[in-house]
C-alpha cells in the first residue's frame, strides 16, 4: 500500500520540477549556441555586409558567402591535418591500450611508480618542453615533417590514453584474466582475444579525445611544421587573417569548416558508445 501512495505523491511535483529544469537547460543551450549563430550567419554573408552593427542579422542574399573562399584556402591544410590526426590517434590508442592492459592486469614490481611517472606527463605544459623537443626532432631528422608531428602527438597523448585504458581494464574482473590463463592463454592472447574485444567503448572515448586534441592543436603545428605546404588547418586558419584587413566572413566560415571533422568524429563514433558490453560475464 505504502508503495502506491508514495508513488502518486511523487508524481506531480516531479513533473513540475522536470519542466523547470528543462527550461533552465534550454536557456543554457541558447546561451551556448550564440557564438555558433553569429559564426554561421556572418560566414554566409558577403565580405562587404559584415559589420558589428548587423552581426545579429540574417544574410540578405543566399550565396556561399565566405565558405567558398574558406574551403579553397583551408582545403590542402585540412588534408594535412587528417594525415597528422588519423595516424596519431590510431597509434596512440593502440599503444595506450597495451600500456593500460599491462598496468591494470599484469602488475610488476615498480609498476605503480612507473605509472605515476607516465601520468605525470599529462601535467607538463607544452610550452616548457618546446625548445628541447625541437632540438631533439632536428637530431633525429624529423623536424618539419608530418611524421615528426605525429610522433610528438602520439607521445604527448600516451599518458592520458594509458590512464583511460588502465581505468577501463581495471573494471574488467581479474577472474576473467585468470579464467583465460587457466584456459591456456598467455599475456598476448588474453589481450587480443579477451581484453581487446571488450575495450571498444574505451577505444571510442580515446579516439574522440585524441582526434579532437590533435586536430585542435596549434602550438606544435606552428612550431614544428614551418613549411606552409605541410601546415595543419589550425595554423592555416590563423593565417586567414591578413596583416592589414580581415575578411570576417571567411574567418567565420573557416572556423566552422575547421571544426567540422571533430564534430563528425563525435557524431559517428558516439554511436558506438555501447553500454553494458560487460553484462553477462559476471554477476549483475
Amino acid at each position: 500500500m505504502s508503495i502506491f501512495t508514495s508513488g502518486v505523491r511523487a508524481e506531480l511535483p516531479r513533473k513540475f520540477r522536470d519542466y523547470v529544469i528543462l527550461g533552465f537547460l534550454i536557456l543554457c543551450l541558447l546561451f551556448f549556441l550564440m557564438p555558433f549563430y553569429v559564426m554561421i550567419v556572418n560566414g554566409l554573408k558577403e565580405a562587404t555586409s559584415v559589420s558589428v552593427s548587423t552581426m545579429w542579422n540574417l544574410p540578405t542574399q543566399l550565396s556561399g558567402g565566405g565558405f567558398v573562399e574558406a574551403f579553397q584556402r583551408l582545403g590542402p591544410s585540412m588534408g594535412n591535418s587528417l594525415l597528422i590526426a588519423i595516424p596519431a590517434t590510431i597509434i596512440s590508442a593502440c599503444w595506450g591500450s597495451v600500456n593500460g592492459y599491462l598496468f591494470a592486469k599484469w602488475k610488476f614490481r615498480g609498476s605503480n611508480i612507473l605509472f605515476a611517472l607516465l601520468v605525470f606527463g599529462m601535467f607538463i605544459p607544452y610550452q616548457s618542453i618546446l625548445i628541447p623537443l625541437i632540438q631533439f626532432l632536428e637530431m633525429i631528422r624529423l623536424y618539419g615533417t608530418i611524421p615528426g608531428l605525429v610522433a610528438v602527438h602520439v607521445i604527448y597523448g600516451l599518458p592520458i590514453v594509458s590512464l583511460i585504458f588502465r581505468n577501463y581494464f581495471t573494471n574488467i574482473p581479474d577472474e576473467m584474466v585468470e579464467a583465460a590463463r587457466i584456459d591456456g592463454a598467455g599475456l598476448v592472447r588474453i589481450f587480443t582475444n579477451v581484453m581487446l574485444p571488450l575495450s571498444l567503448p574505451a577505444f571510442v572515448v580515446v579516439c574522440i579525445f585524441q582526434f579532437t586534441n590533435i586536430w585542435n592543436d596549434f602550438l606544435f603545428g606552428v612550431t614544428i611544421l614551418t613549411n606552409p605546404q605541410a601546415q595543419p588547418v589550425t595554423v592555416a586558419l590563423n593565417n586567414l587573417q591578413g596583416s592589414y584587413s580581415v575578411d570576417w566572413n571567411v574567418v567565420m566560415a573557416g572556423a566552422i569548416t575547421a571544426a567540422l571533422p571533430t564534430a563528425l568524429v563525435y557524431i559517428f563514433l558516439g554511436r558506438f558508445f555501447i553500454r553494458g558490453l560487460l553484462a553477462g560475464s559476471v554477476k549483475g
Binding site: 574482473p173 587457466i182 553484462a279
Partner: protein
C-alpha cells in the same frame, strides 16, 4: 592411477607490498593430502586462507614456500594451463563477447585441438548440462544458474585431473543453490575426478564433501569426513563452526561433588551445574579444577531422561522458537545461552522453568587455554 591426488606440503603464502616487504601471511605452513577422486571441501570464515590455498593449487597465486604436487608432479612453477586443473569462479568469469559455444571451446582452441574434436566435446558436454539449445547465445542472455553451468562446462571440456571450485554457488539464489549443489555432487559421482571446493557455507561443506578441511587464520583446524567433524570436533573452533545452531559451549570447571564429578559454570548468575557420569567422568577426572569448556550439541539435550547416560540441567527459558517439527529453546546459562533442540510437541514460554537432560555420551570437553579437545 593416482593422477588426481594433490599433496600440499608446508605451504606458506605471505603477501608483500610494492617493495617486497611482507605484509600479511594468509596461509601458514599447512599440510594437506587430497586423495585421487576425492571431493575435498575447504571451509572457514572469510580471511582464513582457503581461497588463497585454492588459488595456489590453480597457479594463480605464487607460492611463498612449500610444495604443491598434483599426481606425481610438483606444480609449483608450472603455468595454470599445464597443471591439469580447471577452475570455476564465484562470479562465473565467462567471456562476455563470446557465444556459449566459444566460451566452452576457448581452452580447446588454444590447445590447438582438432575442430571435430572440439565440436564433439562441447556438444556432448553442453547436452549433459542442458545447455545444448543455447550454444549460440551470449552469456548476458542467460540466467545466473545457466551461466554457472556454462562455467562448469568450460571446466569439464578441459578434462582436468582436478576441478577447483571457488565459492561457485554464492552468487545464486537459495533455490538455485540447492539445485546446483546436487548437480555438482552428481557430476563428481559421474566423472570421479578429484575436486577441491572452497566455501564459507558449512551446509555446502557438510552435504558435498567426502572430507572437509576446516581452516582458520591460515591454519588447518581439522580435516575429517563430515560426520567425524560433527561428532568429534578436535577444537573449540570446529565445534562452534559446524552445526546449526552451533554446539553449546559453557565455560567452567570440573569439581568434586557429592555423588562424583560435576561441571560447574564459572559465572555469577544463572550458572548451571551438570553432574558427570560414565565415560565423560573419566575424561573429566584429568582436568579437575582446571578451566575448561563444556560442549554439547543442541540436539543432544532432550526432555526425557534415559537410563544412566543422561544428566539433568535446570534453567529458565529465554526464547523459544517453535518450528513445527521441533523447537529451539534458548535457556539461560551463565556464560551464554544453552540451546536445546526439542521435539515440538509443546509450546514454551519465556521465563518458564525447564529441566532438560544432557546426553553425556555426546559431551565434548575442551581445554579453555589450548582450545583443543580433552580425551
Amino acid at each position: 592411477m593416482n593422477d588426481g591426488a594433490v599433496h600440499i606440503t608446508d605451504l606458506v603464502k605471505t603477501y608483500t607490498d610494492d617493495r617486497g616487504r611482507p605484509t600479511f601471511t594468509a596461509v601458514k605452513k599447512i599440510n594437506l593430502e587430497i586423495n585421487n577422486g576425492e571431493f575435498m571441501v575447504l571451509v572457514g570464515p572469510s580471511g582464513c586462507g582457503k581461497t588463497t590455498t585454492l588459488r595456489m593449487v590453480a597457479g594463480l597465486e605464487k607460492i611463498t614456500s612449500g610444495t604443491i604436487s598434483i599426481g606425481d608432479r610438483v606444480v609449483n612453477d608450472l603455468e595454470p594451463k599445464d597443471r591439469g586443473i580447471a577452475m570455476v569462479f564465484q562470479n562465473y568469469a565467462l567471456y562476455p563477447h563470446m557465444s556459449i559455444f566459444n566460451n566452452m571451446a576457448f581452452g580447446l582452441q588454444l590447445a590447438k585441438k582438432k575442430k571435430d574434436f572440439i565440436q564433439e566435446t562441447v556438444s556432448r558436454t553442453s547436452k549433459a548440462l542442458g545447455l545444448d539449445h543455447m550454444l549460440e547465445r551470449k552469456p548476458q542472455a542467460l540466467s545466473g544458474g545457466q551461466r554457472q553451468r556454462v562455467a562448469l562446462g568450460r571446466a569439464i571440456v578441459r578434462n582436468p585431473q582436478v576441478f577447483l571450485f571457488d565459492e561457485p554457488l554464492s552468487n545464486l539464489d537459495a533455490k538455485m543453490r540447492v539445485q546446483m549443489r546436487s548437480e555438482i555432487s552428481r557430476l563428481h559421482g559421474q566423472l570421479g575426478n578429484t575436486m577441491i571446493y572452497v566455501t564459507h557455507d558449512q551446509v555446502e561443506a557438510m552435504t558435498m564433501g567426502d572430507r572437509i578441511c576446516v581452516m582458520k587464520d591460515g591454519l588447518i583446524m581439522q580435516v575429517a569426513d563430515p560426520l567425524t567433524l560433527y561428532r568429534q570436533p578436535e577444537n573449540l573452533f570446529v565445534a562452534g563452526f559446524i552445526g546449526s545452531p552451533p554446539m553449546n559451549l559453557l565455560k567452567g570447571k570440573v569439581e568434586k561433588g557429592d555423588g562424583g564429578l560435576v561441571f560447574k559454570e564459572t559465572a555469577n548468575e544463572n550458572a548451571v551445574t551438570i553432574p558427570l557420569k560414565g565415560p565423560v567422568e573419566t575424561i573429566a577426572a584429568k582436568v579437575v579444577g582446571k578451566s575448561i569448556v563444556f560442549g554439547i550439541r543442541p540436539e543432544h539435550l532432550t526432555e526425557e531422561s534415559k537410563n544412566g547416560s543422561t544428566a539433568p540441567v535446570s534453567s529458565t527459558i529465554d526464547i523459544a522458537e517453535p518450528m513445527g517439527s521441533e523447537s529451539l529453546v534458548y535457556m539461560r546459562a551463565g556464560t551464554g545461552n544453552l540451546i536445546a533442540r526439542i521435539h515440538g510437541e509443546a509450546l514454551y514460554h519465556m521465563g518458564q522453568p525447564i529441566t532438560v537432560y544432557v546426553n553425556l555420551d555426546k559431551v565434548a570437553l575442551f581445554d579453555a587455554e589450548t582450545e583443543s579437545v580433552i580425551r
